[in-house]
């Protein structure tokens, strides 16, 4: 029988690494997918998602065992991705003179379970959004965060979450329409 998440978290809080292993395996796919949408490369996504699990483990004692793990993890993951983007942004500015090659499909794969042309196109359109729009789309559509959870993760009022998400969806619609032309 599968152990409930609350039981697993409580075991983690007592230092049980095997229990954490169960949680990590459970969410690894979702974590990598979300990180891959937020960042530009698969390698960065792999690294960020693992780093976020390490941070979650370090703070697991502070976590309320009755609450769902994933929204909390999603918040940590978002912070890891933001600092990674900031760092690589700095690096990219420094290397501006270098060739401006597109990321190869290998380093930037579409991590979807069932793919078709339309879904690949949506994936790319999300990747083209500004970081601010991208993260609210990922949080709300792919990670199932409520407005309240997003507001807490981003440190902004709920009303701002709603308007930002609205603008992000408009931008996504526009991006998809643009690609069809």
């Amino acid at each position: 029988m599968e152990e409930s998440e609350a039981t697993l978290i409580r075991r983690c809080q007592q230092g049980d690494e095997e229990a954490f292993g169960v949680i990590v395996r459970r969410y690894a796919g979702a974590a990598q997918g979300a990180a891959c949408l937020l960042l530009s490369s698969y390698d960065d996504a792999l690294d960020a998602s693992q780093e976020a699990f390490v941070r979650a483990w370090r703070h697991i004692r502070r976590f309320d065992a009755g609450a769902p793990f994933y929204p909390w993890y999603a918040t940590i993951l978002r912070n890891v991705c933001v600092s990674k983007m900031r760092r690589s942004g700095r690096r990219r500015t420094a290397q501006l003179a270098d060739s401006h090659a597109d990321p190869s499909p290998d380093s930037d794969p579409v991590l979807l379970a069932e793919r078709n042309e339309r879904r690949d196109r949506i994936w790319r359109a999300i990747r083209e959004l500004s970081p601010q729009h991208r993260e609210v789309i990922v949080m709300s559509h792919f990670q199932g965060l409520s407005y309240k959870q997003m507001a807490a993760a981003l440190g902004i009022p709920i009303g701002t979450v709603m308007s930002r998400l609205h603008n992000a969806r408009q931008a996504l619609k526009k991006g998809l329409a643009g690609e069809e032309l």
């Binding site: 690494e17 954490f20 292993g21 990590v24 395996r25 690894a28 796919g29 979702a30 990598q32 997918g33 979300a34 792999l46 693992q50 780093e51 699990f53 390490v54 483990w57 370090r58 912070n79 933001v82 991590l111 979807l112 379970a113 069932e114 339309r118 879904r119 949506i122 994936w123 601010q132 789309i137 709300s140 559509h141 792919f142 409520s146 407005y147 981003l154 440190g155 902004i156 709920i158 709603m162 308007s163 998400l165 609205h166 969806r169 996504l172 619609k173």
Partner: protein, 149 residues
């Protein structure tokens, strides 16, 4: 209220995040406004499409490798902390012993003793100030994250 003010509410309505009063307000507008109805239909379509997109579940072998990698990082974190604490203790102890011996040694010139003590104090002061700067930067960094958005 004008259409523009209702637009963001469409998103909240779609996600079930509006209060009942605001929902009712919007529904009254929708009944009268064709443009907003069309917009809501488009947003609904987009949301449904996105809901169909699920992330790929890695095969068991890959999951195992993934967890091993996370596990190693957990251990490495503890390793680094122990290593740093140990190194600091050993270094401080060694330095203290050396200085004590040198100061007790009558063959060493007084000027050299003063020099070494000044050197040690200088190093400590620089280290503490650097550490304080690092901590301050981290605090600012955390703060700027919120302000930026």
């Amino acid at each position: 209220m004008r259409c523009d003010e209702f637009k963001p509410m469409l998103t909240g309505y779609l996600d079930g995040e509006l209060t009942p009063e605001r929902s009712a307000e919007l529904e009254a507008h929708l009944a009268a406004c064709e443009a907003c109805r069309r917009e809501l239909a488009e947003l609904t379509g987009l949301k449904e499409e996105l809901a169909m997109m699920k992330f790929k579940e890695p095969p068991d072998v890959e999951l195992e490798r993934y967890w091993r990698s996370v596990y190693n990082r957990l251990e490495r974190g503890l390793g680094w902390i122990l290593l740093s604490v140990g190194a600091i203790i050993v270094l401080c102890y060694g330095a203290f012993q050396l200085i004590e011996e040198m100061i007790k040694d009558p063959r060493v010139a007084v000027l050299l003793k003063v020099g070494v003590v000044a050197l040690v104090f200088g190093a400590v002061i620089l280290f503490v100030s650097l550490l304080r700067e690092r901590l301050a930067v981290r605090k600012v960094d955390k703060y700027s994250k919120e302000v930026e958005r």
